[in-house]
């Protein structure tokens, strides 16, 4: 029988986090009870990251291990997608430079948005499905989610060759149980009482579903090696495991201490963390909770031993830079609106005609490679940039996104408008040729030097406040030292 399951995965956490104590120090006078969570750190995305860029980053981690040609379908999953009516998956696909015939769709509406396509794939044995999830949850100051949430991306790919975790079976149950909600008008989560959610919601929904799934597959709770219950409160998984009879040491780490709950991305992020360390023949019960529940059984294969994610979840968490600047954290999330100065008044209207015409250049970071003199260059141009060549119409497509580069010159500009000053930018040289003058990210002030290694990150370039649009481009990011 042909195995079917996951063939690759990738994770992504932003560069920075904030210590929860630093949050509590600022909002404890409003909500003293949040002291219970004032430990560890939570990741947070920079102002120029959103659910799309987080998903792209995770998918690129995945594609470091896998040929992009295997992707036939792309599902972008998030409840914090930047566009309500524009295919966010289409942006992800463009950034990944996927084939034109890739079937792209957005999955949203509940915390189970990333598992819905996985459940469907499990039922349909759908090959070549890339699920790329990203969540940057907007949180209100002093709301419990400010403490519990974390921003992240996670991705998995289905297939039938070199399966690392077989998809055995899946079951779902619906229930309009409202543990929290968010509307376009509210902007941030309205969160209901924790104990009610656990006892009336989670426990009563999870236990029968898990029992049913195991029974239908002739398995018992003792068989479960890893139990993944991605919910915001870190203690719930253990409580539910006890209710269901799942052994305690099977309960997967909720990643509370060093990351926080990343919403739609969290089931996959916890799964990836589990796969980072899993041995062959481990049975994984992956669940997702939100107006019902999904439960999926996976079993690792012998291929898990040889699969190595480019960066593990634990490595991402360990290397998070810990900030204690609360207003800076708020500004990254659109919750703090200082006077950014006159330069913030610039009109960032996008010429959509040009953006479409140059979509592959801008979103795919595809430049030119002169067939005559072999010079890579960005942007692609009619005449080669090499002063010794200047040949006309000799350029082939050349994608810079995955090519390492080094810093050739830089500045930290305190005058330029940036929501996370200073704006760092400069010239970079790509390995194998090519030079770009480009914005940089991931460097702390004073932390950049000529010759530093950089890698390309897909980010928001400019925000057009007047028209509610923003455009994306790539930035030279500090190399993650793992």
């Amino acid at each position: 029988m042909v195995q079917f399951g996951l063939t690759a995965y990738g994770s992504y956490l932003p560069f920075q986090s904030i210590s929860r104590q630093a949050i509590f120090d600022q909002i404890g006078w409003v909500q003293g009870g949040l002291k219970a969570y004032a430990r560890g750190k939570r990741s947070y995305a920079d102002w120029d990251e959103d659910a799309v860029t987080l998903a792209v980053a995770a998918a690129r981690q995945l594609l470091n291990t896998t040929d992009a040609a295997q992707v036939q379908n792309l599902s972008f999953a998030s409840t914090t997608a930047p566009f309500l009516d524009r295919s966010n998956a289409g942006i992800v696909a463009a950034a990944l430079d996927l084939a034109d015939h890739t079937n792209c769709h957005d999955s949203s509406g509940s915390q189970r948005a990333a598992l819905a396509p996985l459940v469907a794939a499990c039922h349909n044995q759908g090959d070549g499905l890339l699920i790329a999830a990203g969540e940057k949850k907007p949180v209100k100051p002093a709301n419990v989610m400010e403490m519990l949430a974390g921003d992240a991306g996670a991705a998995v790919l289905t297939g039938s060759e070199n399966v690392i975790a077989e998809l055995i079976a899946a079951q779902s149950v619906r229930s309009d149980f409202v543990d929290h909600y968010r509307t376009a008008e509210s902007g941030t989560d309205y969160v209901l009482e924790e104990r009610w959610v656990r006892e009336e919601g989670l426990a009563k929904i999870a236990a029968p579903l898990i029992a049913s799934l195991l029974a239908d597959n002739n398995m018992s709770v003792e068989d479960i090696d890893h139990f993944i219950l991605p919910v915001a409160y870190p203690s719930h998984a253990r409580a539910i495991a006890r209710t269901c009879g799942i052994k305690e040491d099977a309960v997967a780490d909720a990643l509370f201490t060093d990351c926080g709950f990343s919403g739609v991305a969290h089931p996959l992020l916890m799964l990836n963390d589990c796969l980072d360390r899993a041995v062959p023949n481990s049975l994984i019960l992956l669940t997702g909770f939100g107006q019902g529940m999904d439960a999926i059984l996976l079993k690792t294969t012998e291929h898990i031993s040889s699969y190595k994610a480019s960066i593990s979840v634990q490595d991402f968490m360990t290397n998070l830079r810990v900030e204690d600047n609360y207003p800076r954290f708020l500004a990254s999330n659109g919750q703090f609106h200082p006077d950014w100065g006159m330069r913030a008044e610039r009109d960032n209207r996008t010429a959509q005609t040009v953006a479409f015409d140059k979509s592959r250049d801008i979103y795919g970071l595809v430049g030119g490679f002169c067939a005559s003199c072999q010079t890579p260059q960005f942007p692609k141009a009619r005449r080669c940039v090499n002063p010794e060549c200047n040949a006309l119409d000799t350029q082939q497509d050349y994608r810079f996104a995955d090519i390492p580069a080094t810093v050739k010159s830089f500045t930290e500009d305190w005058m330029a408008f940036n929501r996370n000053p200073p704006l760092i930018y400069g010239n970079i040289s790509f390995e194998g040729g090519g030079n770009m003058f480009i914005e940089m990210t991931g460097f702390a002030p004073g932390g950049i030097a000529i010759g530093d290694n950089v890698e390309m990150d897909f980010r928001i370039k400019d925000i057009d406040d007047k028209r509610g649009f923003h455009r994306y481009f790539w930035k030279a990011a500090a190399q993650r030292k793992m």
Binding site: R343, P379, S409, T411, Y425, M436, E439
Partner: protein, 399 residues
């Protein structure tokens, strides 16, 4: 090489407004101030002018588009007026248009005017502008200090300098211009600074501090040029002539090719090579008596000394600290205070540089007068090191 324009065009009159925060003046006032000075200097009537070139960069905050504001302010008799813009080389471009028209024989007398009214924008520093519909999609949201600051990091790296040492040479550049500007009644900033004040200034864009940056000013300047035969009739046997005017825009190498090291300006090297050749100057270090270069930032002036072939590569910091470009040095630079202290009304700057060289050559520079200057060089750099327009002009007395 083409025959060139050496000694084919005389400058018969020049004018320059007071530069600075001219809250009280509109472009009409600034232009009139410069033009009337030039007209008196040239001893002609405005009706004698055959054609004019008008340089303005930020038209939106200034005079608006087109050439007619100049025609209107000066009540010109419906002669041709051409509006030009080429970033910070705009003023020089207006002069180049007028000079080329006379050299070509199309005009007997031509007018060049540059004007900028920057202090009505509300900005400290230059306001941002679009880079073009495609370039806006990927180019960084840089500021001029940030873009030029790149030279500092790259230069220090290229020559293995400690940034603290490079900063001392940069501070000397600014110190010298403040000393010079102090003596210039038309300068925007007339205040002396100490090296310590410059080094301890608040940061703008690493490694530049506030005093590494030039002033942003209001101002206008103007030149009237004519065929040498006409100049003799109007101003006598001794007059200033144009020895060369060369322009070199980037062609994309700096932005997109690894051959550029980021520590200097390719265009200045190309333009100055051609300008020296056109002026028949084989040893610029011996023949150039003074320079007015585009010192928008201290690091810019530093690298330009090498790009103009006045310092050996890697030696500009030493030459600067040795005082070679000070007022009493071998080749004084920014004897009028430069962009740094005279100020930088973008469209007027190239003509302001020419104005100082003109005064120096005619011995009219009062407290700033240098002894027996032979040739003066004016240099503009429009844009940023990654993508720019360099203009190099050389002036001397008629031969």
């Amino acid at each position: 090489m083409a025959e060139g324009i050496k000694d084919k065009v005389a400058i018969i009159g020049m004018g320059c407004s007071k530069f600075g925060e001219r809250w009280d003046a509109r472009p009409e006032d600034l232009i009139t101030e410069a033009f009337e000075e030039a007209l008196t200097d040239a001893k002609i009537e405005k009706e004698n002018i055959d054609a004019a070139w008008f340089g303005v960069f930020y038209d939106e905050q200034n005079v608006g588009k087109s050439a007619y504001p100049l025609s209107q302010y000066l009540r010109l008799p419906n002669i041709p007026v051409t509006r030009v813009e080429n970033l910070c080389a705009t003023g020089t471009e207006s002069l180049r248009g007028a000079v080329y028209a006379v050299a070509a024989g199309a005009c007997d007398i031509a007018l060049a005017v540059g004007c900028e009214k920057l202090k009505d924008t509300g900005f400290a520093g230059l306001p941002e502008r679009t880079k073009g519909t495609f370039e806006d999609l990927y180019q960084p949201g840089f500021t001029p200090p940030g873009a030029f600051a790149q030279l500092g990091a790259a230069y220090a790296h290229k020559f293995g300098l400690d940034m603290a040492d490079l900063k001392k040479a940069m501070a000397h550049v600014s110190w010298k211009s403040h000393e010079n500007g102090f003596l210039n009644p038309k300068a925007h900033l007339r205040k002396k600074l100490t090296i310590e004040q410059i080094l301890n200034a608040p940061p703008v864009a690493y490694p530049l501090g506030v005093f590494d940056c030039c002033g942003v000013s209001d101002g206008a300047s103007c030149a009237i040029v004519a065929r040498p035969e006409i100049a003799k009739n109007l101003v006598g046997e001794n007059f200033v002539t144009v020895k060369s005017m060369q322009l070199s825009p980037s062609n994309g190498v700096e932005m997109g090719h690894q051959s550029w090291d980021g520590a200097g300006t390719i265009t200045t090297r190309k333009a100055s090579e051609r300008a020296y050749a056109e002026a028949e100057i084989s040893d610029p270090r011996a023949d150039i008596s003074l320079t007015e270069v585009h010192d928008c930032f201290s690091i810019t002036e530093l690298v330009l000394m090498e790009d103009l072939w006045l310092s050996d590569d890697g030696m500009a910091p030493k030459d600067i600290l040795d005082g070679r470009f000070d007022a009493d040095g071998d080749i004084p630079c920014q004897i009028d205070g430069g962009l740094k202290c005279f100020g930088h009304p973008v469209g007027a700057s190239g003509l302001r540089m020419t104005y100082e060289i003109y005064l120096q050559l005619l011995g009219r520079a009062n407290d700033r007068q240098l002894k027996d200057p032979k040739f003066g060089l004016a240099h503009n750099l429009g844009g940023i090191p990654n993508r720019n327009v360099a203009a190099v002009s050389i002036f001397g007395m008629n031969e």
